[in-house]
Every structure is written in C-alpha cells, then in structure tokens.
C-alpha cells in the first residue's frame, strides 16, 4: 500500500482508544522493555504518543514508529496496571495490522504465516523432516536442561541455547483422541498448541496422563492449526482468520465441557483475541462456545476437578514463573501454585519477581534477541537465587526462554511445566 494518506486514515480509527491514555506514565513501573532501555519510546505511553503523532500527522516517519511499536513483548503488564484502563494489547495489535498493511510483510513472514501456520499438514511434515536432520547443525550443551547450540555460525540460531525439535512430536504419537467421560463425568477438548506439539511433546503426554487419571474423556481432533497469535501480533490479520477458522471447524464438531490447553499464550489468545478479531459472522455461535470453554490446564484441575494441596511435606524444591498471558490476561496465578502444592514430593518456594516477564514475547525474541536476553537474564537470576532445583511454569514459550537463559548462565536447573511435575507423581 505505502500510501501515507491511507495510513493516517487507518490510524484515525484508533483515535477513540488512543485518547484514553492520560499520559500519567505509570506504565514505566511495569514495562520490562523500558526497564532495560530506559527510553520513553519503548514504554506504552511513548508508543501511544507516537501513534497519536502519526495519526495527527505531527510525525512523518512511519518506519521509526513501527520499529518502536514492535519493541513490545505484548506481555500485558502495563494494561493490567493501567490507571485509565487503556486497552493496550488491542491498540497495539490493531496498530500492527495497520503498519503491516502499510509497510508490507517480509518474504519470511509471508511464508511462515500464509503458507505454513495456516497449513498444519505441511507445517508438521516439514518439521518432522527437520527434527531428523537437526543434529547436523546443532550440538548438545546441557544435559539437564537438554539444550543445544549451533555447531557452526547459523544466523537464525545465533548463540541461542535452544531446545531442539522433539524427535517425535505429540501428533506422531497421538494423532487424535476421542474418549468418553470417566469417573469425573467430564469430557474436554485438548488443544496442545504448536510449541508443545513440536518441542515439548512430554507436556502434551503429561496432560493426557493427568486427564486419564482423573477420568476425564478427551476430544483431540487431528490437524489442529496454530492459535494465530504469531500472525496477528505481526499484523497478518488475514492469516489469523484462516487459522482460527480451521480450529473452529475442528472443534465445533466435538462435544466437550471444557477446552484445555497447557499453553498460557494459546489460552489467552483463544479467550481474549479470538472473540475480538475473528470476523466471520457465520461462525460466531461456535466461536462463543469455544471461547467460553477454554481453560488453562491447571485452572481446570484446581477449579473444576478440585485438586488441592497435600499435607505431606515434599523435599524437591520447585519455584514458579508466572507467564504474562496467564497472569495479566486471565488472572490465573493461584491455580498453578496450588497444583504444585498438590504434587507429592514437591516443596514449593516463591522466587523474587515471579510475575516479571521472561522476555520471550514470541517473535519479539527473534526480532530483538539482545533485548530479550537482557530481560531473560534477570529472570534466570531470580530462579537461581530461589535455590530451587526446578523452575515450573505454565507456558512452553516461557520454558524455551528460561531454558536458554539458564543454560547460558551455566545453571543446571530443570525447567518443567507444572502439569509434567504433577503427572510424574501420579
């Protein structure tokens, strides 16, 4: 498009929301990116002022504003604490869509969003091949964390200590499930999410084990698409529509009481982003049903199945990191901790700033790896200072980031999903 007039026109549609920011600046106390850079353009108030300036044609350089706009983890901490209740995530997602329409997307973004993530079959096949050959490019660096790094200089990998693709993704072991309700008299739909499926299938297996243990029937359809967050957070609204549509088509066929995910980001995307951005009016009834039923796995176990803390003192020290998308978007903070306290053998210890962002932010980590690491190092230090043997969390993306940071710090702490620990003890 690249038509400045059109850009201004589209940004003007955000005006009613932009004007709700009273510029008090209290977001400076919350923003993990600002905490690192100390620059006003990195904090929410600054970004909103820049978007306003662009809409009012006071600022002439959209690319400069776009760069600032992308320097956001979408962690939602500022929104959860904003005195004026500014709908920050909504403003930024819409603004990113406007910007993507204006500047266009890179070839890589187009390939990933439009060709791969909207096409689960192709995506799975490609990564299955990738998992077989990745050993050529990578070498293990930490046995406990299970991390690897690049064998030679690879631009995408950089100096990351990453979890390699699982040898066998979840969908290869369990392509689909449709089991009846057991003693619980409940049946849930299971949405593992891309990262659990491809990097942490053990988390998916843990969820299935736990559901079976509690007598919960499972509906897990084959061919699930990405929840859509990578697309929409990069402004690709069209691909987002396609991904959500694919998922609605799959899940509308099932009969279930709840839709469970072990991924904080998938849960909050389905709960908060789908109803706001999914456009097809003919699917609204099916959409509303899914949105109403989606639940984080630990919230399901604690709130619905009433899993409660044990009295037997444990010895294995475990601390907990709050994923932003559970804490800020959904207010889920107590249930994962309760689940840990309900896990035999676990001694739960709180770390300092458990609620601070790990710095992952999905594609933020790819675009601003240095900044992402600076934020992540603080989190790793809090984990180390807690003296816990294991850090548990509720989001596979946080698990990847914390694993990278701990591995680089040479700290051999285990990184596990809360549901894995619970499943281990069953």
């Amino acid at each position: 498009m690249a038509d400045p007039k059109k850009l201004v026109e589209m940004l003007k549609t955000l005006e009613d929301q932009l004007v709700t920011c009273m510029r008090c600046g209290m977001c400076q106390a919350q923003c993990p990116v600002f905490a690192q850079s100390g620059r006003e353009g990195d904090v929410t108030r600054g970004k909103i002022a820049l978007l306003t300036g662009l809409a009012e044609e006071m600022i002439k350089d959209p690319d400069g504003v776009n760069n600032k706009l992308n320097r956001c983890l979408l962690c939602g901490t500022c929104e959860a604490n904003c005195p004026s209740g500014v709908k920050v995530t909504d403003i930024f997602l819409r603004a990113r869509a406007v910007m993507a329409a204006y500047t266009g997307m890179s070839a890589a973004q187009k390939l990933i969003f439009q060709k791969l993530l909207t096409n689960p079959g192709l995506f799975n096949t490609l990564l299955d091949i990738g998992s077989k050959f990745q050993g050529i490019f990578t070498k293990p660096v930490d046995d406990i964390l299970g991390t690897s790094c690049a064998r030679f200089n690879a631009p995408i990998i950089g100096d990351r200590h990453f979890k390699t693709l699982a040898a066998k993704p979840l969908h290869a072991d369990v392509p689909s499930l449709d089991t009846p309700a057991g003693v619980s008299k409940l049946r849930v739909a299971f949405f593992p999410g891309c990262v659990v499926d491809k990097i942490y299938p053990s988390v998916g297996h843990a969820v299935l084990k736990v559901l079976k243990h509690h007598g919960v029937g499972v509906y897990m359809p084959k061919g699930q698409a990405c929840c859509g967050i990578p697309a929409i957070s990069n402004g690709d609204v069209a691909s987002f529509q396609e991904m959500v549509k694919k998922n609605i088509e799959l899940f509308r066929k099932g009969d279930f009481d709840y839709l469970i995910t072990p991924c904080a980001t998938c849960t909050s995307t389905i709960k908060k982003i789908w109803p706001t951005y999914y456009e097809d009016k003919s699917d609204q009834v099916a959409l509303a049903k899914i949105v109403e039923k989606v639940k984080d796995v630990s919230a399901f176990l604690v709130d619905v199945l009433k899993v409660s803390p044990t009295d037997i003192p444990g010895t294995k020290t475990v601390t907990y990191h709050d994923p932003c998308h559970l804490r800020n978007s959904l207010g889920v903070t107590a249930q994962p901790r309760t689940l840990l306290q309900a896990t035999p053998g676990v001694k739960f210890v709180e770390m300092t700033d458990a609620a601070s962002c790990c710095g992952s932010g999905g594609s933020f980590n790819l675009k601003f790896y240095e900044l992402s690491q600076e934020i992540g190092r603080k989190k790793a230090q809090h984990v180390i200072d807690s003296q816990a043997e294991t850090v548990a969390t509720s989001c596979p993306a946080c698990m990847m980031q914390i694993t990278d940071m701990l591995s680089k710090a040479g700290a051999s702490r285990k990184v596990r999903h809360v549901v894995e620990l619970y499943a281990d003890a069953l």
Partner: protein, 460 residues
C-alpha cells in the same frame, strides 16, 4: 533539526548511544503528564555520570540552547515539556543511591533514583523516607525536589522540601555548586538548597541530593468515616486538628468520587454518603490506640453516620485501596482527566468544597474531588474530552475560576504539582508583580541566556 556538529559535541560527552536524534525518539520526549500541547525537542541527551551532566549543561549554555531536565516525565504542570528545538537532558541513567547513613540519618542520591525504590531501600535499613507522591512508583527524586512534591503524608510528615538537607548542583556554566550538608544544623551561606527546591529546573541542574531520613512509626491504625454532608466531614477535620491530634493521613472523597470508585472496585463503599474521611494515625502503639479512639469519638460527635476502624492489615489495606482507586476510577469515566491541586488553608476546606460545587454547576462539568483534607490540598478532577472544543473552553474557564476562588480564600495555585507552563500565567495574581520582577532579576543573573527550562514558572 540540531546541527550535525553540535550532535557530535554531545556524542563526545555522553557517547553515541546516549544521544537520541530520530524523529520517533524526539517525539516521545515532547510531552509529560500535563494536558498541554506537545513541543518537539531538537535532541535528547542521556548523561551517565556527574561529569557528563556538568559538561552537557555547559555545552547547552555555550551554544545558548534551551535545556529541560527530565526524569520520568510525570509532571502535571508541563514542567518537563521542552522548548521546541531545545535539548532534553534525561536523568534516568543517573540513578544511583550513593550513601544511606544509618548513624547520621541521611542519604545521598543522584537525581534519577525512583522515589519508591529509594523508600524501599531506606526501609530495608529500618529507616523511613516519608514523602509519597501519587506517582512514586515511577517518579524520580530529582523531579520530586524540582517540584517540591507532596503526597498523602504531608499533614504530619511534611513534603519533599522538609527532607532536603543539601545538594550539589551545576550552575548554568557547568560549575558545581555545593549547598547545605549532612548536619541537622547548617547556616553556612545563602540557603541555596531552599532556593533550588521547587525551582522547576530554572536555576540549576541537580547533581546529588542529600535527603533526611527518620525512624519509622512503630504502629499505625486506619479508619473510614462516612458522612451525610460534606460540611460534617470538614468540621470533623477541623475538630481532629483542634484536639491536637495530627494523623499521618487525613483524606477526603466526595460523593461523585465515592460512587465512581465503588462502580470500579465494588468493595462495598456507601454510595449514598456525601463524603468519606480516610484517616490513619501512627506512632507509638499506645499513642496510636489512644489517638484512634479519640478520632473515632470526634467523628461520631460530628455526625459521622458510621466509623469503621480497620482491625487488621487486610482491612487497613481496604481503606487505602479506596483512596488509591480514586484517580484511576475517575480517569476511566472520560478520555481526558484534568487533575488540579489548588490548595487552601485547611479551615477553608468547607468553603472550597462549596466553591467547587458551584463551579461544576456553573460550567456544567463533571468534577470529582478527593484529596488531602488534612493539609488543605484538594484534587478537583475535571472529567472531559479535550476533542470537544466547546466543552474544553468551559473547562479552561472553570480552571481559571478554581484558582480565583482558592486565592480568594487565602490559598495557593499549586499544593504539589508545580507551576510549570500550566499555571505560570496565574503567578502574578498570587505573588504580586514585585515577586515576579524579583524572580526575573535573579534569573537574569543566574541564567543570563535564559536556557534553563525557559517558559516555566516565571513568564511575562
């Protein structure tokens, strides 16, 4: 645009990374928390050491470029909005606590230290830094000193100026001037420290600040008193003071604020009440008990419909949550929130509350009022939408009248937010022409080129 050569000079002082020149970066320093038009700076500079700060000031003066020092930009009177094309000097990298002295009860800080972080550090050593402006989780101590910030504890503990023992600051030539010190008593020379506090960056640039610390109170008790009329609440405030009790905090909320907060939090506030008093007494446990009982009795004697004394930490927190919610809840009602801080002698609070009521009716505006009843510092908060030009004119007229009425009651333009750009035009009305002329003469000598935060405090 700032000349390339000059940018190079600044880069030579603070390093390339600490000179911001892109349009997006400059635009994000073109405003603060005041409801005023933006002004685009020409350059943003972020010194990381005291030496760099001094050289930055000198370079600005040598080139006669206006400079505005900025911490977190939470100013409510436009004190940190730069001159168009001027230089913004950030203190955010000058954020070290240099010393906390537990024997002599003082601390030395750089100007960019965040207020609540400092208070927490001090508390770790078993000491207390009382000033607690509403923006304390983000505001800087330098900004607090430059604006003489107040807070909820003003009544008993005073405001920022009561805690500044001394400082070093750069004069406009970049020379380091020392003033005051680390002793309780110090009468050496002019009281530059007193002059520099609240000077809004117009006379010099803080390098280090020496702050007084006090022992914390051993106990505290909070309560909430409900009133059927604002006058009863005001009379209660007067009666508490007359009984020689000085609560640490004594806050008032009017009916509109109560309803808005209740609508926001659903904590069970009495929405039919015309006024709430939120009171906390602190000190020695025995005295706290005695004072709390007396205050409760005074409230009842002055027709409080009910008094709820917090029995534990949770209940105490609930009382203060209601107060903390006041601004956020009001701010959600309309897009634009104009937070004023006209202040009157506390005996005149009833008159001021009545005046605000008149003004809201006269200009047909929504005004919620809460504030520090104990020290006469009210926050009439006008809820509006600045895009509605017709209403905005009424808002401006109402603000004028709020100041007129406060001054007529022997009050002041600003209790704690500063004069900045927003209130400079009213200065003559409060201080008189001689004070303005005296300020100008002083300024012309100390800052002959007029580069230190021009357009603030003194105009005309």
């Amino acid at each position: 645009m700032t000349a390339k050569a000059l940018i190079k000079d600044f880069e030579a002082i603070v390093g390339k990374d600490n000179v911001l020149t892109s349009e997006a970066d400059l635009a994000s320093y073109s405003y603060d928390a005041a409801v005023l038009p933006n002004a685009m700076p020409g350059l943003v500079v972020r010194p990381t050491t005291s030496e760099q700060l001094g050289k930055t000031v000198k370079l600005c003066n040598d080139n006669a470029i206006p400079m505005t020092v900025r911490g977190s930009g939470t100013n409510l009177s436009g004190g940190t909005i730069p001159s168009t094309g001027g230089i913004v000097v950030l203190t955010t990298a000058l954020n070290r606590i240099l010393e906390i002295n537990e024997e002599d009860l003082y601390a030395v800080v750089e100007p960019g230290v965040i207020t609540s972080k400092f208070a927490a550090e001090v508390a770790k050593r078993g000491l207390f830094y009382p000033p607690d402006p509403g923006s304390q989780t983000v505001s800087t101590l330098g900004g607090n000193v430059a604006e003489n910030a107040g807070g909820l504890r003003g009544l008993k503990y005073g405001v920022t100026k009561d805690y500044v023992m001394g400082m070093t600051f750069f004069d406009v030539n970049g020379e380091l001037v020392k003033s005051g010190g680390k002793t309780v008593k110090c009468v050496t020379g002019y009281n530059f420290t007193g002059l520099m506090v609240g000077a809004e960056g117009t006379l010099g640039v803080y390098d280090t600040i020496t702050l007084k610390l006090v022992p914390p109170p051993a106990a505290a008790k909070a309560m909430m008193a409900v009133f059927d009329t604002v006058m009863d609440a005001c009379r209660t405030v007067a009666a508490i003071i007359a009984a020689k009790i000085v609560p640490a905090t004594l806050e008032l909320m009017d009916n509109f604020t109560i309803r808005t907060v209740e609508n926001f939090r659903k904590a069970g506030l009495p929405t039919e009440a015309q006024a709430l008093l939120l009171i906390e007494v602190d000190g020695h446990p025995a005295m706290v008990e005695e004072d709390a009982a007396k205050v409760e009795e005074i409230c009842k004697k002055n027709k409080a419909a009910s008094v709820r004394v917090a029995k534990d930490a949770n209940e105490r927190n609930a009382v203060w949550q209601a107060r903390r919610d006041a601004l956020p809840a009001l701010a959600k009602v309309k897009p634009t929130t104009v937070l004023e801080d006209a202040t009157v002698p506390r005996s005149k609070i009833p008159d001021m509350m009545a005046a605000l009521d008149d003004i809201a009716k006269k200009y047909n505006l929504t005004i919620g009022t809460f504030g520090h009843a104990g020290d006469g510092n009210l926050h009439p908060t006008i809820l509006t939408d600045k895009r509605n030009t017709e209403e905005w004119h009424r808002v401006e007229a109402a603000i004028d009248e709020i100041f007129d009425r406060a001054l007529a009651l022997g009050g002041t333009l600003s209790g704690e937010h500063g004069i900045g750009m927003a209130k400079a035009k009213y200065m003559k009305q409060e201080c008189g022409i001689a004070a303005i002329e005296y300020s100008k003469r002083m300024k012309s000598v100390l800052d002959p080129k007029g580069i230190l935060n021009p357009g603030k405090l003194i105009v005309g």
